[in-house]
């Protein structure tokens, strides 16, 4: 089973996304064997989390079993969140400290940690908002919350440090998407922190799903490690049915 931990639907202002649709994602998922993808709507990451979250849930309902929803929490708008995970296909909460300009360790996120759902957060090495050190700080304070470190910090010069910072916090998982990630680095991360702590994500439709999966599929990994990274870890932490 291949599960994509980090997906999006919708447009983004910075650049052209030729195919931002859910239909396009499903066609690609079928083409390469991806069972399901966790999505947040890019409108929700941007200015309207509440409406974007509703759109993401509608998409998940339109394609049963193919999408889980990371409901975006905007700390400035105090976005209402559902705490019922399985009923409406919600996988957890998505945070984007850089877009929302609110540090990951800011008290404004307390309602999210209190919810107890898995959290996928953008991470960016040396960012004042989302440096991996903030993930370690939050994970130490809230060890009961599964925390996916999006992009493993984004920049290659910070990948090894991100793995070191996460190593002592078993609730932190390194998520693999990003334009600078390589198959070689994914194999290194597995060697550093263990295959049970690395989770496949693509960032599609922002990025191309096939490129993201290819880094896992063709990385120099053992078959059991690849199975964990490409879906078994996420299925375990989300308690998804086998």
């Amino acid at each position: 089973m291949i599960l994509d931990a980090h997906g999006h639907v919708g447009d983004w202002p910075d650049f052209l996304i030729p195919d931002p649709s859910a239909e396009g994602l499903v066609a690609t998922m079928d083409r390469i064997g991806v069972t399901a993808m966790g999505i947040s709507h890019l409108l929700a990451v941007g200015p309207d989390a509440e409406r974007g979250n509703r759109l993401a849930i509608e998409i998940a309902e339109r394609f049963p079993g193919r999408f889980g929803v990371w409901q975006v929490y905007n700390p400035h708008h105090r976005t209402p969140l559902s705490s019922v995970r399985a009923l409406d296909g919600i996988w957890g909460v998505k945070l984007h400290p850089d877009v929302h300009q609110c540090r990951l360790d800011d008290p404004l996120y307390e309602p999210v940690w209190d919810l107890g759902l898995p959290v996928l957060a953008h991470a960016q090495t040396d960012s004042p908002w989302s440096d991996p050190a903030q993930f370690a700080a939050v994970a130490a304070r809230r060890p009961e919350v599964p925390l996916l470190m999006g992009h493993t910090g984004l920049w290659p010069y910070g990948f090894a440090r991100a793995a070191r910072l996460a190593a002592d916090h078993p609730n932190v998982y390194l998520e693999t998407c990003g334009s600078k990630m390589t198959g070689r680095w994914i194999a290194r991360l597995v060697a550093m922190i263990g295959a049970d702590r690395v989770v496949f994500g693509s960032d599609a439709c922002f990025l191309d799903l096939r490129t993201g999966l290819g880094r896992i599929a063709l990385a120099p990994l053992t078959a059991p490690d690849r199975t964990l990274v490409q879906g078994a870890n996420l299925a375990r932490l989300l308690a998804l049915p086998p």
Binding site: P18, T28, T182, G183, D208, G214, L218
Partner: protein, 232 residues
């Protein structure tokens, strides 16, 4: 699956900021890449001439040498004069105007390019679409392989491709959903070239993407090798 795969953009040699394989051939074998255009890292991170000498000593038909040329006044260029470039008998050269601090559309670079009449590989981060527009205005027959175009500047890159048919695009970093198909439908698969920038950039993702493009097999074969063969 494409019949033949040529990576238009690989490096050979060590890099100063990471521990990466200095010889690309083992990874090429593992990923099913038949041949590769290679530039020596010494030419990028040290002395261009030393890198070119090491590159041109390679004697492997799988590796197509792409030496780095630095146009300039006598004493500031690499190699010392453009006749040495012609003596190399290579099929493509690489220019790094930003790294080597010369003007791509300055009089010397334009004279060298006109005299060489060779395809030129340039990383988009080493130039700009506006500078390339100027280059094509001055040298309308110049062929350019645009390396590392990325996905964030897709609009500007598409405008460049619409204005001239002398630009070919490396697809390894065209990494937004459906980006390669979007370009192929608008400009033709014969303008797109498989390339990775490995080992610094990723080769696993682009190689997988090549096998799973939503294009006709003939178009995939062009991207995998045919377009580059046409360019060279």
């Amino acid at each position: 699956m494409p019949k033949l795969v040529i990576d238009a953009h690989r490096l050979i040699g060590p890099v100063p900021f990471d521990d990466l394989p200095s010889d690309p051939r083992a990874e090429m074998d593992r990923l099913g890449i038949d041949r590769a255009c290679v530039t020596h890292t010494l030419s990028l991170y040290s002395d261009a001439e030393a890198g070119n000498e090491a590159l041109l000593r390679l004697d492997d038909p799988r590796l197509i040498p792409v030496p780095v040329v630095v146009p300039g006044v006598p004493g500031a260029s690499a190699p010392a004069d453009l006749h040495q470039v012609l003596a190399w008998n290579v099929r493509m050269i690489r220019l790094c105007p930003e790294r080597h601090r010369f003007d791509l559309t300055g009089p010397i670079a334009l004279r060298w390019l006109a005299a060489l009449a060779l395809p030129v590989a340039i990383d988009l981060e080493e130039t700009s679409p506006a500078q390339l527009h100027t280059l094509f205005t001055r040298l309308p027959e110049q062929r350019v392989l645009l390396l590392n175009p990325g996905y964030r500047r897709l609009r500007a890159v598409a405008e460049l491709m619409a204005e001239t048919r002398r630009v070919w695009l490396e697809m390894g970093t065209v990494n937004t959903q459906g980006g390669v198909e979007w370009l192929a439908h608008r400009f033709g698969a014969d303008r797109l070239v498989f390339g990775t920038g490995a080992p610094i950039a990723d080769d696993c993702g682009p190689r997988f993407l090549l096998d799973h493009l939503a294009l006709e097999p003939s178009a995939v074969d062009l991207i995998a090798a045919g377009s580059l063969s046409g360019l060279l």
